[in-house]
């Protein structure tokens, strides 16, 4: 299945604005993030928390909503990785 990964701000500059990843059926959000980090090691520190691939200072959204590392992905999902906000 194919999943779209979007990155913003400093993450966009590190990983590109958008990429389509081909993943095996049943892959979880954690699997996807591990693949992203292995391609872009610079993201590891920001994305990883003490317990795994989510929990760092970054926010990860799945289809524009909050998500859990164990969430199982589906064809066409959109995953977004967001550094801490600084708007306003």
């Amino acid at each position: 299945m194919r999943v779209v990964v979007r990155a913003f701000a400093r993450f966009r500059e590190m990983a590109g604005e958008e990429a389509t990843l081909e993943l095996p059926e049943g892959s979880t959000l954690a699997d996807l993030l591990e693949e992203v980090v292995s391609s872009h090691p610079g993201l590891k520190k920001a994305l990883s928390g003490p317990d795994g691939p989510i929990g760092g200072r970054a926010m990860v959204l799945l289809n524009r909503r909050g998500a859990d590392p164990s969430d199982v992905l589906e064809e066409g999902d959109e995953v977004a990785i967001l550094p801490p906000f600084s708007g306003g």
Partner: protein, 130 residues
């Protein structure tokens, strides 16, 4: 009531005029501009679809929490020079305290919850995400 993320300039006068309500005598507007900290400007980026949803949620929460009659938010994206407007929030209420509290609430929640980012462009050409 407008919620807008835009790469164009906007008119404060038009937004305030559109926010006036006959039953609301108090209008509080916050305008955030690019401050000269030895920079030539900022670049503003947003996860637009999510940011617009979140701004609308913040507006709805503000309306439910304070006695407000309207809330408008316009946030710029793109390249902005020193002194240019970044964000305008307009809150109207029957009473001044609600308008002040509501406007400030919306601003604080935008900073905390809206997926928007600013990069400072220094006068020497250096750049820094803030």
């Amino acid at each position: 009531m407008a919620i807008e993320i835009t790469d164009r300039e906007f008119s404060i006068e038009d937004l305030v005029a559109g926010a006036k309500r006959p039953d609301a005598g108090a209008v509080v507007a916050f305008l955030g501009t690019v401050r000269d900290d030895g920079i030539s400007g900022v670049e503003v980026e947003a996860y637009r679809e999510v940011a617009e949803e979140e701004l609308a949620r913040i507006r709805d929460e503000a309306m439910a929490t304070f006695d407000l009659k309207s809330v408008d938010v316009v946030h710029r994206v793109g390249s902005l020079g020193v002194g240019e407007a970044i964000v305008l929030i307009v809150a109207t209420a029957p009473h001044r305290q609600a308008a002040f509290r509501g406007c400030e609430f919306v601003l604080e929640e935008i900073k905390r919850r809206a997926p928007i980012w600013k990069k400072e462009i220094r006068s020497d050409g250096g750049e820094r995400w803030i």
